[in-house]
Amino acid sequence: MAGIEITSLHMRYPDGTVAVEEVDLSVRDGELFVMLGPSGCGKTTTLRAVAGLERQTSGTIRIGDTPVDDLPPGERDIAMVFQFYALYPHLKARDNVAFPLRAEGLPEAEVRRRVEDAARMLQLGPLMGRRPQRLSGGEQQRVALARALVRRPRAFLMDEPLTNLDAEQRTDMRAEIKHLQRELGATMVYVTHDQVEAMSLGHRIAILNKGRVEQVGTPMEVYDRPASLFCAAFIGSPPMNLVDVEVADGALRGPGGIALPVPSGLPDGRPLVAGVRPEALEVTAPGTDGAVRGRVASVEALGDETIYVVECEGEHDVRVRMPPTARFAADAPVGVRHVGGPPPVYDRDTERLVA
């Protein structure tokens, strides 16, 4: 296994659009590194540059300690798993998995041994004799994974491998990929737009937006202190509430009279945005001390918790996480109160974290 160094990567298309702008990333050996962002943010383009499927305009990529910029994909010693599995439809699963090894000219005994190993790791045993059209989406993706595994690459590149699966299959495959990566100690660069997937799988997450890296950190770092408004809105389900505030009288004050504890050192009067997580709020009876008035727009009873979407005075909808025992009805007048410590605060113009 090897680490991957991406230095000053810049990718510009002939028509002028900049897909990736000065991206610096460092993936450690044995790490599951997630690149997270909305479509068009440059994460897939960066991955394809690492794979060698696209050529960067400038910047270098090293796999291990080797600069790979001039090597075609087949010689970079990496394996890729695609969103649409890309299994050869006319070959059985077993032959799909064996394909890259046979293409390299490995002796058949060795090919057979590696294929059996991979099949066992991914519990594909009885499915190996089938053709892709007789396999479910999740099974096809496991075969694609096995095909990547047998090559024993220095790193795995995964391009939104779970996006095509339905919710149940996705949860299962997620656990399987995580388990596989931990057991092999494999270096994996994993691209996704699903932040739950990123949080659950990644050792570290890089959030990309419009071709730039906005933040790199562990899941908890990225969740607790998002570096910009974009990251704040992107990570967390339900999404973080962003409240326009100003420092006044020793607190962060916002519309409807909401008052939040303020971290020290912020000047009065500067236009700011506070990032308030749904679990940092609570829904109360209207008129409760310190609560802002509002009306319940919708109730999402998820079983282990209930999410209230509340229309507060002068604000967009505010989302509040409550225990399942909470009993407020839709359209009911309620109060929303902040509980918890000082929230992360952002400058309204630069959109970056200031406290």
Binding site: A167, H193, D194, E305, P324
Partner: protein, 358 residues
């Protein structure tokens, strides 16, 4: 009135039995969700209600009237498709106006109706564009507008939010709930995402292999699943199931653990059972007599909470813990179980034992 009912619907595609006797009763004005994994027959159910699939057996009733033989156009239903199915050569205005034009409504009324619906969904400025120029979220709204404009008997929705990214999906969920409450009409909504189902439904019908497994409110389906399959399918993270049997007044696990028998449960001693525990009903912090020993297998930090996978022998127990919880793989620990909220299932049939815990 907007009731929808189906009785004994059966439909096969070649050798595959897509619908195997589907009975549904959708009350007037309800947000009724049909939930199930892919291949369960949810889309076929919806298409049968719409009249796009002919049934092998069974019937569809709208407002008590048997409409099984009627064409889709005659049933006065509106449908929103997963990939929106907007007419690519028509403008947004023409797309939304389409059902009214077929009815030959006067042009003035059509324009007024389209404007009203466009304002409701915040797409007024898109009316002259073509579908190819719209984003996924905008196409979604246009598809909704096309359905809403006619005020049909009921709305059918086939996984309409699946193709949207998370942020849009969460917003649209709230919006759909709002629109539903405002209109007071019946919505029949199909999805494979149980979080989506739980968050929006007045009632949920859980479908598997063409059969309805359970119908109830979100709370009922979550707290009183009728069998182990429904219990596993609904709820995130998945419910943990541990093999055990009753021995006098204890529950004895196959992995060697022992817990007090949950109140109100009865089972013959020795009968193979499954103890179902939701992650939020197991704790790494409280101490009490209902504890199980295990080993930390993995930690999943999800922001507002962390999931701890605890290995109990060869079985796994998932525990919902505070985000700050720390633990290393291999570390031994005790977890406390809330037996009042535990489920018991027969290991053979999978059915829930009556009176298990609540």
């Amino acid at each position: 009135m907007g009731t929808v009912a189906t009785y004994g619907m059966r439909k096969a595609f070649g050798e595959v039995q897509a619908l195997d006797g589907v009975d549904l009763e959708v009350p007037d004005g309800a947000f009724f969700v049909v939930l199930g994994p892919s291949g369960a027959g949810k889309t076929t159910t919806l298409r049968a209600i719409a009249g796009l699939e002919r049934l092998d057996a069974g019937s569809v009733h709208l407002d008590g009237r048997d409409v099984t033989g009627e064409t889709p156009g005659a049933r006065d239903l509106a449908m929103v498709f997963q990939n929106y199915a907007l007419y690519p050569r028509h403008t947004v205005f023409e797309n939304i106006a389409s059902p009214l034009r077929v009815r030959r409504d006067p042009a003035g009324e059509i324009a007024a109706a389209v404007d009203e619906v466009a304002r409701l969904l915040h797409i007024e400025r898109l009316l002259e564009r073509r579908p190819a120029q719209l984003s996924g979220g905008e196409m979604q709204r246009v598809a909704l507008a096309r359905a809403l404009v006619r005020r049909p008997h009921a709305f059918l929705m086939d996984e309409p939010l699946t193709n949207l990214d998370l942020k849009l999906r969460v917003e649209m969920r709230t919006e759909l709930s709002r629109i539903h409450r405002r209109l007071g009409r019946t919505f029949v909504y199909v999805t494979n995402d149980q979080v989506e189902a739980m968050s929006m439904a007045d009632q949920v019908a859980v479908l598997k292999d063409g059969k309805v497994r359970q119908v109830g409110t979100s709370a009922e389906v979550y707290e009183r699943p009728v069998d182990r399959w429904v219990a596993s399918f609904v709820g995130s993270p998945r419910i943990s199931l541990l093999a055990c049997h009753v021995d006098d007044d204890r529950l004895v696990g196959s992995q060697g653990w022992s817990l007090p028998r949950p109140r109100g449960t009865t089972a013959e001693p020795g009968r193979p059972l499954l103890l179902g525990l939701r992650a939020e009903d197991v704790s790494v912090e409280r101490r009490g007599e209902a504890t199980v020993e295990g080993e930390v297998f993995g930690l999943e930090p999800l922001g507002d909470h962390t999931l701890v996978d605890v290995k109990v022998g060869t079985e796994t127990l998932t525990v919902k813990a505070r985000p700050t919880v720390a633990g290393r793989p291999g570390e031994r620990l005790s977890v406390t179980v809330d037996l009042d909220r535990a489920h018991l299932f027969d290991a053979g049939t999978g059915l829930a034992l009556s009176g298990a815990g609540r």
